[in-house]
Symmetry: C2
DNA sequence: TATCTATGTAAGTCATGACTTACGAAGATG
DNA sequence: CATCTTCGTAAGTCATGACTTACATAGATA
């Protein structure tokens, strides 16, 4: 359930396709698999990974199981990226200033 | 240079370690490799991937090459996650409302 | 120019993980 | 109770990619 789990979970294209399907709303495994070029067990395994990463939650509905997006895992990733973003921006600004000072000296 | 490139680039632990090193400031390949348990060519290859993903930029400095964080690739990932976050939150709220209505009927 | 430093690339090895089919379990339905 | 639906898990296959060593190149330096 760390942000690292979320990243490696989202790194797979098939899993991103599953996430995309769930953006429209909750769906059972079979329905998700119907819209994808992989087998149903494959989707099942992917949903397991997504669930472990906190990106998806499952709620039993009688015979089947509804999967829906979960904010938790996504949030941890957002925090990591925001922090990284700050540092990258700072590095970029420092470099820009250094470049400006370099030009200044050439005057 | 898409957000998908950025995700799969950040999915690797070694590459995240390289990124972490660069958060402290720009560094040449050798310096980065010294702080890691992998060989210098491995770091070189990773930096190539990070560069292709727009997460890192290289600036030649005489004999060596300085690598530093780049905001571009990070930003694309942030946009994707923000959008995903919105949908996840909406799904979560719908589910909460449905649950509340369910409880209401049980009264 | 000869050499040392700093780096990228080539080629090959090996582990991880994404996929398949086969099977078993749990709830709905006749 | 028997069967159908919906799903998860086990076992095995195969491709991707992370790593290594060996080699080639470009700039600094004596």
């Amino acid at each position: 359930m760390t942000y690292e789990d979320a990243i490696s979970a989202l790194a797979d294209p098939t899993r991103r396709a599953i996430i995309d399907r769930l953006r429209a709303g909750p769906a059972p495994v079979g329905t998700v698999a119907d819209g994808l070029p992989v087998s149903r067990p494959a989707v099942s395994q992917h949903l397991r990974v997504l669930s472990d990463a906190g990106l998806v939650v499952m709620t039993p509905r009688g015979n089947h199981r509804l999967y829906s997006l979960a904010p938790t895992g996504i949030d941890s990733l957002r925090h990591y990226l925001d922090s990284l973003w700050d540092d990258a921006l700072a590095a970029f600004q420092r470099e820009a200033e250094a470049l400006a000072k370099q030009k200044e000296q050439k005057k």
